[in-house]
Amino acid sequence: MATTVDLGGAAPSRSLWHRLPMRTKRLVWVWSFLALPIVFYTVIRFYPTVDAFWLSLTNWDLLKPPKFIGLANYQKMFADAQFWKVFRNTFAYLIVGTPVSLLLSFVIAYYLDRVRVMHGLIRALYFLPFLTTAAAMAWVWRWFYQPAPIGVINNFLGTLGIPQQPFIRSVDQALPSIMVTAIWAGLGFQIIIFMAGLRAIPSTYYEAARIDGLGEWAILRKITLPLLKPTTVFLVVFSSIGFLRIFDQVYNMTTNDPGGPLGSTKPLVLLIYQTAFNSYAMGYAAAQTVVLFTILLFVSLLQLWILREKK
């Protein structure tokens, strides 16, 4: 008995699936596969992002249920001197770090492209720091920057008769010192991308330009740079986001006074981390995250607009 009932139940649905046109069936298949990443992203990306906006309006401290407090977190943040210091630091990393690293990597890529002797080795050497763990690298640099008996840089300065520099122990020198490490760490990647971009420019353009008698400078300005624009746009956006989110280097180079001395190296992400996981002020941290999100969005859109293709 049971078997007949089973058959009777399954038959209509099976025929319904069979009755569907091939196109619809294929669409169902495609969408059921596509749904997986969409659901995944919705759950682990979009939902927390949207939730952060809501949390930023509450006083959640992980222990008590969140209570709506309006814009109090934002008022507190904009009145907080430390927030503005961190804000300035973050933009110092961005405004100095991005152009310097791009200029350096372009110059290196431009000349490395012409080097034939040991080209592979030199390229690998430039790329090596990018493969190293950020934490390990930061610790090595942290020791480089120490005072004389153990600090390599200060030892070297000493042999030249130059006075000791405090580097990461100084409120003025600490941020540039850490920025140097961060630039060095990302250089390899940018050089590789620039070189790929340079290689992608057809050599016929250069040949034609040389036949027409254009100088190197003019070739660079009229052919190389304009044709390299998509690469540059990508790297500017990529590197800006990297500097706006800087954390590893700063945290690892200043662990015994994170973001110090006196907050002079603290970027926004480190402030958010401390607010959330040291003080457990989740609502306040969410408000800071919303500000970071807005800045990232704005900077990315601004760059895309400035560097857009003019048609």
């Binding site: 004389a148 008996p149 153990i150 122990r169 001395p261 006196l262 040291n278």
Partner: protein, 417 residues
């Protein structure tokens, strides 16, 4: 018919499970990862289970950096341990968040706790209730490098007893190269280490002041004593030039490397310093002031019972907590971890008081103070910044103290809301 048999079987199965559960209670214990602490606790659990065959203890550990977050997150999820270790400074947060319950008075009467434990145990008392009991406590002492003392013509068996002698010893042991760069520090200066505790609970009191009032809820160090204490501390670098913040990156690293003659650190550093092979070192009590006044800072991790634990699990937890704060457990803890017993009787034994390493720390416990932090990390950062403003930015001691006092009061007030 068959269904009925199945149901009966299922019920029988479940009831056997339930019966087994009733016979063997499992409780969960949480602490953070630190090799010797985990080892000691495993030994304690094995002993406890042998004595109480009907109870099993599940030992769970988390990295220190995550530990507090894990406990708080577990509480939100309605999960978490039955017995847990917590830093005394987290209690306000944990009690307010209903993570911990007051210790049941039948098993842990207040008068017994107060007569048997060191007085610093009061830092986990709120109102009339204790929320935990420590197995071990930590205090501070002055470590000194006997080799550097001998090289400088100081008697390695007669370490500094007063602050003046401490400064004099630092001046004799500090070494500089021709360019004036420090190669050996007379003393380490590291506010991020234990120096902020030294300044807060020792130097301020030795200058006749007190760091806080009203159960540490009102900052009181914006005073002459506070200023004198900070000036003494910053002068070690600025005036006497016997130490330098950031020398060898961290104070304990400088001492370990044999590049600093003296450092102030806690019992928890003994493990790391015991492996030093290049030189002999000694420990002595923190220096007294000219009038002979001494002070110390003591702290501890306590074990408490989770607010959600009840019924037979609570009974098992009470037994377990009683065992891990027993004199026997403290002895095992001292041998394995090197931390001092929290009970007077277990700590102040003849053997311990004759021990050249434990004795200075034990003496310190008698007159130690325990700061009731509301946010230890933020309050330490505040002290680091206070010293840095004077050392790096040239701010006056008076202004820096005033700024620090105001900022710390804001931290305390905010936590009280």
């Amino acid at each position: 018919m068959r269904k009925a048999t199945l149901l009966a079987g299922l019920i029988a199965g479940f009831s056997t499970l339930a019966l087994n559960a009733a016979q063997a209670v499992e409780i969960e214990y949480w602490q953070y990862v630190f090799e010797t602490r985990v080892k000691a606790m495993d030994e304690l659990i094995a002993n406890f289970e042998k004595a109480n065959p009907d109870i099993t203890v599940k030992h769970t550990t988390f990295p220190y950096a995550d530990y507090q977050t894990r406990v708080i997150a577990a509480k939100m999820g309605g999960q978490g341990p039955d017995v847990m270790q917590f830093f005394y400074g987290w209690l306000d947060k944990f009690a307010a968040g209903e993570i911990l319950q007051p210790l049941p008075k039948d098993a842990f009467p207040n008068d017994k706790i107060e007569s048997e434990f060191f007085p610093i145990v009061s830092a986990v008392k709120r109102g009339d209730d204790y929320y935990g009991l420590p197995t071990a406590v930590r205090s501070l002492a002055l470590f000194y490098n006997k080799k550097l003392f001998t090289d400088a013509g100081l008697d390695p068996n007669n370490p500094p007893k007063t602050l003046d002698e401490y400064v004099a010893a630092a001046e004799k042991t500090v070494k500089r190269d021709n360019a004036g760069n420090m190669t050996v520090a007379g003393t380490t200066l590291d506010m991020g280490g234990q120096d902020h505790q030294w300044w807060r609970e020792v130097l301020i009191r030795q200058n006749g002041g007190e760091p806080y009032r009203d159960n540490d809820r009102k900052v009181a160090y914006n005073s002459d004593a506070g200023k004198k204490a900070l000036k003494f501390y910053t002068d070690l670098q600025l005036e006497k030039k016997v130490g330098q913040v950031g020398f060898m990156d961290e104070g304990q690293a400088a001492f370990r490397a044999g590049m600093a003659a003296m450092t102030i650190d806690g019992t928890f550093r003994l493990g790391a310093f015991k492996s030093i092979e290049g030189f002999e070192w000694g420990v002595t009590e923190l220096p007294a002031n000219a009038e002979g006044v001494r002070s110390n800072y003591a702290s501890y991790f306590a074990n408490g019972i989770s607010a959600k634990t009840e019924g037979e699990k609570l009974e098992a937890s009470k037994k377990f907590l009683a065992y891990i704060s027993s004199p026997e457990a403290m002895d095992i803890w001292l041998k394995t971890v090197g931390e001092l017993p929290a009970r007077r009787s277990a700590a102040l034994t003849e053997a311990n008081l004759a021990d050249p390493i434990y004795a200075p720390f034990l003496k310190g416990l008698e007159y130690a103070h325990t700061t009731l932090f509301v946010d230890e990390q933020a309050q330490r950062q505040n002290a680091i910044d206070m010293a840095n403003r004077v050392l790096l930015e040239g701010q006056s001691v008076d202004d820096s103290i005033a700024q620090a006092a105001e900022a710390e009061q804001a931290i305390i007030d905010e936590a009280a809301q």
